[in-house]
Structure formats: C-alpha cells, structure tokens
C-alpha cells in the first residue's frame, strides 16, 4: 500500500465516525467535551452553527451519528450523542448575543424561499447573515413545516420549536409571508428574485385508494401525516377507543402514540413486513411498545370492513417473507385464514410522496421519472440555474438533518451564483490541528476510557403523559448523568499521528495498544495486508493508516477500526513518533472563502 496521505483533510475526517456520518458534519466530539466541562453555551453554539436546530434535533433527530459511533464496535451501545445535544440546549445560557445577525447594509440580492421548513430556514439563516433579503412563503400560519406538523408535542414541545425558529426569523432580513399558498411558481419567478429555493417537503401521505371499503369507511380512515397536522392545529382532539395504525415508519410511531393520548385505549400498529425490517428507528419503536402499543408484523391489509356505513375493522392476510438469491424480499401468504382486527379508526402511515402541484412543465423545471426535480447533486441547482431544491423536496423523504445539510449547501450555491462565481468552485472545509501534549505523559483531552454503560434518559410517569399530548415524555439527562454519558465519548477527533522519521521501532506502541490496532509489518497490497495484521482488519469501511518505509524495511500499519484514541501509544512512545493531535473539521457555510 502507498503511505497514507494525512494531509488530505478527508482522511482524518473519516476517522471521526460520528461527524463523518452526520449530513451536516457537526463536530460531535468537540461539543461532547464541552459538555463534560460544563461549557453548555459553547457546546450549543457549535451545534447551532452547524445544524441550526440543536434543541429540536437533540430530541427528534434521526441520529445517523449513533450507529456510526465507534463505541458500538468496541462495546455495544453508542454514546447518546443526540440526547447530549439536548443537554447542551437545556443548560445553555442566553445565546442571543452569539447568534448570527443580519447586517444593516444589505447586499442588494433578493431570494425567495418556498416552504418554511428546516431546509428553507437554514438557507434563510446562512444568507440573511450575509446581507441577503429573503422572502419566506408558507401556506401555514407559522413556520416549521413538518417539524411542527408531523412531530407530536410530547416529543418536541412547541416552546422549544418556537425559540429556535425565532432565532432565525428574528435575525433581520427575512420577510415572512405566512398563510400564503404559492399556487404557481411562475408567480414567484416573475418577481425578479436573484434566486429561488424550494423546500416544500414531501407533503403527500400515501393512501390505499383501491382497497375495498376505503370509500365507505372514509370518515374513520385518515392519512397519518394529515391527521398529525390536524392534531397540532387542534382540528382533531379525539380518536376512537380502538385504533389501527398501518405502517412501520417513524410517522406510524408518532400516530400510534398520539392516538394513545387522544383517547385510544386499544391502539395497534400493523406492519406488512417482518419487525426487523421496519423503517422506524429502534428507539421510537421501543417508546411505542412502552406505551402498551403492540406491533403486529407480517400482515398485509385486504379490506376495510364497513357495516351499516360504519367502519368496524380491517381484514389482513398473514404473510411470511421469502428471499431470493439476490436477497430481494417477497411477502408470501402463509395460507392461513384472513385475520379480522376490529377497530373504530384507522390511521394510514405507509409512506410519503413528493408533490409539486405548483410547478408545471411550462415553468421550465425538469422532473425525472420518479417525479423529483432533476438536480445537480453538488449544487442542488435545478434545470433553471437560479432555482434550487432542498430537504425532502429534493431527493424524496429524508430527515431533518439531511434537510439542514441541503440548506447549507444550497445557500453556498446561491451565494456563489449571486456573486457570478462558478457554483462548482466551492469553499473548502476549515481544518485545524491542535497538539494535545500537556506534560511528559499527560494530555489536554480526557484520555481515560470509561466502562460506564449508556445512560438512560429519565421520563415522566406514563399515566401522566398519556393524559396530555402536550407533556413531553423525556425529561432529558440531568447534569450529572449528562457528564457520565459525555465521558463515554472516545474522542475520535484526537488523532493518532505517526512520524516515521522519529520511530526507533521499539514496539512499545504495539505492546501497549489495548485493541491491537498497531502493527509493524512488511508492506503488501491492501487486501493481503488486512489479513496479515495482529487482528485481521475485516471492517472494510475503516481505513488502514500506513507509514513510509522504516529502517528495518517494514511499515507501520494501523487499523483505524477499533482504536480507542486512548493515547497509550503516544504515552509509551520514547521518541514522540506518535502524537495525539486534535483535528477539527468544520463544513463550509455560505460566505466562507
């Protein structure tokens, strides 16, 4: 193998698994260390700059960082990264003076944002700070988009939501046009904006129009996302005692738990596929099960059963999954009799679709076969160069943090476009290196590895929260528990950096490394080298760090996979050939050079 080029910022970036997995690349280890040192405000600000909605995401993020966490590979449970974000948010001091402000002097560029969800708001924040004038359009009376209408208050209190939305809306430079439905994008195009950003989400919930009984039972059959929105805006305040929720995603989980709070006593979730293949996050399924909601898998709906004009239940076909050679799944009926499940109401949470009723062909915006806009994946530019898409409306349903990442990206593109620069000539990430040596054998960072298990977030008594949909279930980590959890972080951003010129090949690092990552070995092709290590490096997602050739003709090969970043190699190195260097990676935002 060739020696690893550690001057390429992407190499060490990839070692920080959580940050790498985060679409917005939030500097997770840094804010967790700040929590450990009770510097909550700064921890919050690192988040706010990067992911815009720390208080919101600290409750409802899809957490792509957690399955990526190195702790999963050396222990079992990841660091509770998401809930630590909430700790930073809960304990922060007044951050108002630290937030971005719109400058008094505007730059004369005007941008329209259609939809007031997380993607548009991110674009608004990034651009308002640069002096842009922004017009924000939404058909609802308030901002938030799906964060407001889809996420029940018992998971995300309205106050938290409003505070963080207002941080943006109050910056200056943003003019809101609520209760304004844009029925034709050409109306906006005609107004002479320098750029237009579309962040209208994937607003259409899938239905089962062809299923027998759908029409007859219509009154008691609801599309999940519409029903959740109706609950938020208080158009719906009650639900029948027996409720069936169809679907296995997070929306299904929100529907069933909301139903439990609106009078549903016997609420069941019915899933077509096997439980293990449900789309909902593990923890959201757990929360639903804790609220006495059974999840019945391998049931495919056959019909809505309506008697005398009233819905009395649904019939299902029991199936079992079968997999062909390519691993493709098909659901095959078991041959058993159909199952009748009685109910008073049905909520359909079987997926969302994109819909752009306000864009027609004559606008000049091209769409692909899946009904999604044709976009440049880097710039998010549509076929009309000054119209951009982001969030769910760009590539189909995703999640909040993806929407935020799109927002940052689109803002960069818009800023470049407005300055007549090449939108592909994008700003680089900001990278800094900071040595961690404090003394002979001491490090600035907390290098000790704790064996504490993942801490559990305390919750409000079930009976209490089921009575009121506005009572937040989770209480968040208390300060002490938050610190215990923060200590579990392995500081993956503190990199083990090897200088082959200083190495005397004494093997001290190999001998002390607890997880046998370090090898001194004859070089070979990657595939062969991976097998020859002390413990073969079979996790191909993790790189090998290979040095230049050492005096004995061997090379140092480090498998990054389960390195604990404990600093023992550097501590036991007599010549400081190993060093622990903190590597900070900050994704570019609009205005960065």
């Amino acid at each position: 193998m060739k020696p690893t080029d550690i001057t390429n910022p992407e190499y060490f970036h990839k070692v920080v698994d959580c940050q790498y997995a985060c679409p917005a690349h939030t500097n997770v280890p840094e804010y967790i260390r700040l929590i450990l040192h009770e510097n909550y405000t700064q921890a919050y600000m690192i988040n706010w700059v990067s992911n815009v909605f720390p208080g919101i995401l600290g409750r409802v993020c899809d957490r792509p960082c957690e399955p990526a966490c190195r702790r999963v590979r050396v222990e079992n449970e990841p660091v509770a990264i998401c809930r630590l974000k909430r700790v930073a948010s809960d304990n922060r001091d007044e951050v108002q003076p630290l937030l971005f402000r719109a400058p008094k002097k505007k730059n004369g560029k005007r941008v329209a944002l259609i939809g007031a969800g997380p993607a548009s708001l991110t674009v608004a924040r990034d651009l308002a700070a640069l002096g842009y004038e922004l017009d924000l359009f939404d058909d609802q009376p308030v901002a938030g988009g799906f964060i407001r209408s889809q996420i029940p208050s018992f998971r995300l209190p309205e106050e938290v939501l409003n505070t963080e939305l207002n941080y943006i809306l109050d910056m200056g430079g943003i003019t809101t046009h609520f209760n304004t439905y844009v029925s034709d994008i050409r109306d906006i195009m005609d107004k002479g904006y320098d750029a237009i950003f579309v962040g209208t989400g994937a607003p259409r919930g899938r239905d089962l129009p062809g299923l027998p009984g759908r029409k007859e039972g219509d009154k008691k059959i609801h599309v999940g996302i519409e029903w959740l929105a109706a609950v938020v805006f208080q158009h719906v305040e009650k639900v029948g005692k027996r409720v069936l929720v169809l679907g296995g995603g997070n929306t299904a989980m929100d529907c069933c738990r909301t139903a439990r709070r609106l009078g549903g006593e016997d609420v069941k979730v019915i899933v077509r596929s096997p439980m293990a293949e449900m789309k909902a996050s593990e923890w959201e399924i757990e929360d639903a099960v804790k609220e006495d909601i059974p999840i019945i898998d391998n049931h495919v709906p056959l019909e809505f059963v309506v008697e005398n004009g009233t819905l009395i239940g649904m019939r299902f076909q029991k199936v079992k999954p079968e997999y062909d050679q390519s691993g493709k799944r098909s659901l095959v009926p078991t041959g058993e009799d159909p199952v009748m499940l009685e109910c008073d109401e049905v909520l359909l949470a079987i997926g969302q679709q994109n819909a752009f009723p306000f864009i027609d062909e004559s606008s000049g915006i091209e769409f692909n076969d899946w009904g999604l806009p044709v976009l440049d994946p880097v710039t998010l530019q549509s076929s009309i160069p000054n119209i951009f898409f982001g969030g769910d409306s760009a590539f189909g349903p995703g999640n909040i943090i993806i929407a935020v990442a799109h927002g940052h990206n689109a803002a960069i593109s818009i800023d470049l476009l407005c300055q007549s620069k090449d939108t592909h000539d994008r700003p680089e990430p900001k990278v800094t290196l900071a040595g961690q040596k404090l003394g002979f054998h001491d490090w600035i960072y907390d290098s000790q590895i704790t064996e504490d298990e993942r801490q559990i977030v305390p919750t409000v008594e079930k009976a209490k929260t089921l009575r009121d949909r506005l009572v937040e279930v989770e209480l968040g980590f208390p300060v002490y528990t938050g610190k215990t959890e923060a200590k579990r972080c392995l500081n993956c951003d503190v990199q083990t950096v090897f200088d082959y010129g200083l190495c005397i090949e004494c093997d001290a690092c190999v001998d002390v490394c607890p997880t046998s990552c370090i090898n001194f070995i004859e070089n070979d092709e990657e595939e062969a080298l991976r097998e020859k290590l002390i413990v073969p490096a079979r996790n191909l997602d993790e790189d090998l760090y290979v040095s230049e050739i050492l005096p004995t003709g061997r090379v140092m090969v480090k498998d990054e996979n389960v390195c604990l970043h404990c600093g023992m190699c550097a501590e036991r190195c007599p010549t400081a050939a190993w060093d622990m260097i903190k590597y900070s990676y900050k994704s570019p935002i609009a205005g960065d050079s």
């Binding site: 050396v74 590895i449 004494c506 001998d511 501590e571 036991r572």
Partner: protein, 350 residues
C-alpha cells in the same frame, strides 16, 4: 499519565485452545520508561504463554531486583509470583521447584541481578539444571540507579554519558554453556519474530533454559555508540540459524529440504526445526557453540538465536531421584509410612 490500560480489547481478538484471549495473560500497565526493551519481552512472554494455551495458574514467575525484576507485574497477572531479594531469584526458584515440580517456573532477572550480585546463585542454579526458564533482560546498565555500566556492558561501548566501558564484559550465554546449561539462547527485544519461538522452545525444554535477551535501555544506554542500543544491535545482529518452533499438537505441514533443515525434538514432543546456514555448524555441539560465539565476537557481531541445545537433559529432580508427586501433594500417609517400612529400611542398611 495513565495508571491503567483501558479495559476494552479488540472484539475479534483470537482465542487460544483454552478459550482465553490474550487479555487473560496480561498484567498491570508497565511503569518502565516509554520504549523500554523490557516491555517487548513482556509482550512476547504474554504471547508465548497465550499461544501455547498454558493455563496462567500453572506458571510461577520469580524475580530479583531491578528494572527487569519489576516486569513480572506486567504479565501473567493470574499466575503465582515471588519478587525476591537482589540476585536471589535462583534460590527461591529452586525451593519452589523442589516443593512443586508441576508448575512452570519462569525466572526473570537482569544483567545486574545475574552478572553481579547474583553471579554465584546463577552459576549454581545452572549447574544443577533446575527445570526452569531463566530470562535475563540484558541492557548493559543499571537503569534503576541512573545507568551505571553493568558487568555485561561490552568493553569500549559508550553509553549516554560518553565514557567508554573499561572492563571486560561477561557473556552470560557462554558462561551458561560452560556451566552445563542444556538450552542456551540469545534474543533481542526488538526482534519478536525470533524471540517468540525462542521463548516457546525454552518453555518446552526440560531443565535449565537460559535466555539472554538484549533489551535496550532507552533512557541511559541507547546511544548509537552503545553495543546495547536499538540501532547497534540491529546493525550487528547475526542469527545462528533461523528456526521454527512446532508444538507437539501441531502437525508439521511444511516440507523441509533435509539437507538444510535439522529437526530437534524436545522432551514434550514438540520440535524445533533449524534452518541451517551454509557456513554454520549445528548447535547441539557444545564446542562449536562456544566457537561460534567467540568468532562472532571477533567480527564485532552479536550472535543470536538458539546457541546451544541438548534436548535429552536430566534436570535437578532426575539427578536427585525425587518423588514424582509434588511435595505439597504428599500427605502424612506417604511421608510417614509407618514402623514396618522404617524397620525394612533400617534392615536394608545393616
């Protein structure tokens, strides 16, 4: 500074035949200087016992005083141990071995502990051919008292302070051969590839297995002008013969050309295969072994590898015809067999 190693290990770490990972053979974290050669020897000891699937409680580790003698704290944390008086490890090992011959005795000593204060003890434990592994972690200086030259420092060698050693050095391997040891080897802490099979062979050998390991003192004796430094040893190392250690249970898979490979069987059935160098004599001849050592010295080379081996040796128990049962397992019944037996014995003497 870290006072303990993190508890996590590689989740895919190999297990040995007993189902243990290497972790079961580790000890406390080393408190020696960073980069000390002793740590590499410790690591090789751990690997040897782990790979040979020896239960840790079947091992007794004994040591004297010095940097080397601290190391038993860093390996085999679940074995028996005795940290004795300076230079007196061989006496304690002898006593323990007499009482319980079933344990594997691993003595760890240094160049000061063996070649100076413990020289008399060393000489006698070797000539008695006690069944043990006697490792000398040899750095040519007194690391614990700020690096004064030891008795194994080569004449003319310069440590960090720059003054050449004025006295002749003691070659412990040559001495051990002369004193009657049947397994004598020399390794280098910076060459685990050679050290590991060497230790395994020493563990398998019955009788005194003497292993001198050159182990640079990074703090006081690692100047390029020192003959015990990493760079000097690497430049001047010469192996007697490369060798493989094949434990009893393992099938011999490699086909050797019989002209160049000599298999040597040890008492427990395991085999050392020596890949003979063209210009070298085989090592089972005492005279040749000493010659080779002297010739290498004359060329400014350090001869490493298994220097001398007599596989069918008689150990201290054989020579003394002691009981097969360890003393600690003998009950009053065996020790006091009664009047009749005494009478018969007395009669036999009349």
């Amino acid at each position: 500074m870290s006072y303990e190693r993190p508890k996590f290990r590689h989740p895919e770490a190999q297990k040995n035949k007993l189902g243990y990972t290497r972790k079961a053979y580790e000890g406390a974290i080393s408190t020696l200087c960073a980069g000390c050669g002793h740590d590499s020897i410790v690591s090789s000891i751990i690997t040897a016992f782990f790979e040979m699937s020896i239960e840790p409680h079947k091992v007794a580790k004994l040591s004297g005083i010095g940097c080397s003698s601290k190391t038993p704290a860093y390996f085999l944390g679940r074995s028996h141990g005795f940290n004795s008086v300076h230079g007196r490890m061989p006496s304690v090992a002898t006593g323990a071995n007499m009482a319980n011959k079933d344990l594997i005795y691993l003595g760890v000593s240094g160049d000061g502990d063996t070649a100076s204060i413990g020289m008399g003890q060393f000489a006698h434990v070797v000539r008695r051919n006690l069944n043990m592994i006697y490792i000398v972690m040899n750095n040519g200086c007194y690391g614990l008292t700020k690096g004064q030259d030891s008795a194994t420092a080569d004449k003319g060698s310069k440590s960090r302070k720059g003054a050449p050693v004025s006295f002749e050095s003691i070659d412990l391997c040559e001495l051990a051969i002369l004193l009657g040891a049947d397994f004598v080897a020399r390794g280098f802490s910076g060459d685990k590839k050679q050290l590991l099979p060497m230790l395994k062979a020493a563990i398998s050998h019955k009788g005194m297995a003497f292993v001198d390991v050159i182990s640079p003192c990074v703090t006081f004796n690692n100047a390029p002008t020192s003959t015990k430094s990493y760079s000097w040893v690497r430049d001047h190392m010469e192996a007697t013969a490369t060798f493989d250690f094949i434990p009893l249970q393992q099938e011999i898979l490699t086909e050797y050309d019989h002209g160049s490979t000599i298999p040597v069987s040890l008492h427990d059935g395991s085999v050392i295969t020596l890949h003979k160098r063209e210009d070298k004599e085989i090592i089972t001849n005492k005279k040749d072994a000493i010659n080779s050592l002297e010739e290498a010295k004359a060329r400014d080379q350090i001869l490493t590898g298994i220097l001398y081996l007599k596989p069918d040796s008689e150990d201290f128990h054989d020579i003394n015809q002691t009981t097969d049962t360890p003393l600690n397992q003998l009950t009053e019944k065996e020790l006091c067999p009664g009047d009749e037996v005494l009478q018969a014995f007395n009669d036999s003497m009349r």
